[in-house]
């Protein structure tokens, strides 16, 4: 089988594949940024002490966490054009789906991170006269995020893998590009093996890096 492995098909379509990978990375980064911002807000709402805010936040989180990502992608692929009243293309609806979905997971990570900062820090901040937002921005969140770095990076790798699910609505990410080439050139074996290896190398080096970071910054 391997003696027939046709590397030419990969080299010839390399440009196309790289474009797909760019979209995958773009989607990953955009979803991380959006998810982090929304997730932080949700976590702050959850810990705010106002029961209505924390109820909204926990309902949101539980709702998204009990749904498969594919269903969420379908939901927004169907909903976004309907709400906006015009077709927006797969990319934006998928991006919205990822931001909202990942926010639920980031919220739980950030909540744990905030809770890992000792209460004394919060009191100290209050004692020197900082208001809630100053206290959060200058005292609690910087420490919380530092504690969370390994978990956040792990979640980023999971998100990177999850973006391949945009396949179901045909947004041209790395996997879909490879799939198109595979079907056009009738080289399914080569293309899918390559895709698997590329993902494996990227994710594996990512997780090795995280492990190194963790050892260096372990308290």
């Amino acid at each position: 089988m391997f003696d027939q492995f046709d590397t030419n098909v990969i080299l010839e379509n390399l440009h196309f594949l790289i474009e797909g990978m760019q979209l995958t990375l773009l989607l990953t980064i955009a979803a991380i940024c959006g998810g982090l911002v929304l997730g932080t807000l949700l976590a702050l709402a959850r810990l705010s002490g106002f029961w209505i805010l924390s109820l909204v936040s926990s309902t949101y989180v539980n709702f998204f966490r009990s749904m498969p990502l594919i269903l969420v992608i379908f939901w927004f692929y169907f909903l976004v054009p309907l709400i906006l009243g015009q077709p927006v293309g797969g990319y934006y609806s998928v991006l919205i789906a990822f931001v909202l979905f990942e926010a639920a997971y980031y919220c739980e990570i950030i909540r744990a991170g905030i809770q890992s900062v000792s209460k004394g820090q919060v009191y100290a901040g209050q004692a020197v006269g900082l208001n809630y937002f100053q206290n959060m921005c200058y005292i609690v969140l910087p420490q919380a995020f530092r504690n969370m770095i390994p978990v956040l990076l792990t979640q980023a790798i999971i998100l990177f893998q999850d973006t391949s699910l945009v396949y179901v609505v045909g947004v041209k990410d790395f996997l879909v590009s490879a799939d198109l080439v595979a079907n056009r050139e009738n080289r399914i074996f080569e293309m899918f093996t390559t895709v698997a290896c590329v993902y494996l190398i990227i994710c594996l080096s990512g997780s090795l890096l995280i492990r190194k970071l963790q050892m260096r910054y372990a308290l």
Partner: protein, 240 residues
């Protein structure tokens, strides 16, 4: 926003039937995959805690490979690439004669993928018990197998109930990836109903509610189990 509501659509023929069969497929893929993931994951997780270097290396390689390739890519590998790798006869058998090819492939793929995640939970569960128990067991003259059988595993599995529950829920949600190779489970059926009737709201809401119901049932059930089997005196288990 222009939309014609018609909640009746999901109770009409043949859509109700589609949804019911979707539930059936989701459950059977999840349960079949879980049996595989739990048994294989346990073995690999235990291997990762042993003192034998080769066994530990094998288990580590397994975990790293299966954890670092997206599930959907693994699905395609098993479905499209794996039969090509087999010798001619068995390759043909997989392609032509294997009963329920999509279901079997999906269950095996999901099971092998989740086994790597279960293995990590099992490993950390066993390691959290601490070296002391292990040494105490060995000191009283138990063999390594006996230490695992009578000390580490009975305690370990109890500690691991909450993370394993969430792994089961993950497998249940991940079973939706099986739609990419043609298993018509809940999500696929909802999508199909949307395409046939344009009643996306109703179809997706139904699917969402079904997922939430099953998730809640599993969580309640496992909390009961956790309470039943908890070891008195261990804070991490009894405390809510």
């Amino acid at each position: 926003m222009q939309y014609n509501w018609d909640w009746g659509v999901i109770f009409r023929e043949p859509y109700l039937e589609w949804i019911l069969s979707g539930i059936g497929w989701t459950m059977s893929v999840s349960i079949a995959a879980w049996i595989l993931a739990f048994s294989l994951g346990s073995i690999i997780g235990i291997l990762r805690t042993t003192n034998n270097r080769i066994l530990r290396a094998i288990a580590t390689v397994y975990v790293e490979i299966f954890r670092n390739i997206p599930l959907i890519v693994q699905m395609f590998l098993w479905y499209f690439v794996f039969p090509e790798l087999l010798p001619n006869d068995s390759g043909m058998w997989v392609k032509r004669e294997m009963p329920m090819p999509e279901f079997t492939t999906a269950a095996i793929c999901l099971g092998l993928y989740t086994a790597s995640r279960v293995a990590e939970q099992i490993r950390s569960g066993i390691q959290s018990i601490g070296q002391g128990q292990n040494n105490a067991g060995l000191a009283t003259g138990l063999t390594t197998v006996q230490v695992y059988r009578y000390i580490l595993l009975p305690v370990g599995y109890r500690i691991m109930i909450p993370p394993l529950t969430s792994e089961f829920l993950t497998i249940f949600k991940n079973s939706s990836v099986a739609l990419t190779i043609g298993v018509l489970e809940i999500t696929a059926q909802a999508r199909q109903i949307e395409e046939y009737t344009f009643q996306g709201f109703e179809a997706f809401t139904t699917a969402t509610i079904l997922y939430i119901i099953v998730t809640s049932i599993v969580m309640i059930l496992m909390r009961v189990v956790e309470g039943r089997v908890s070891i008195p005196g261990m804070i991490s288990l009894g405390a809510k």
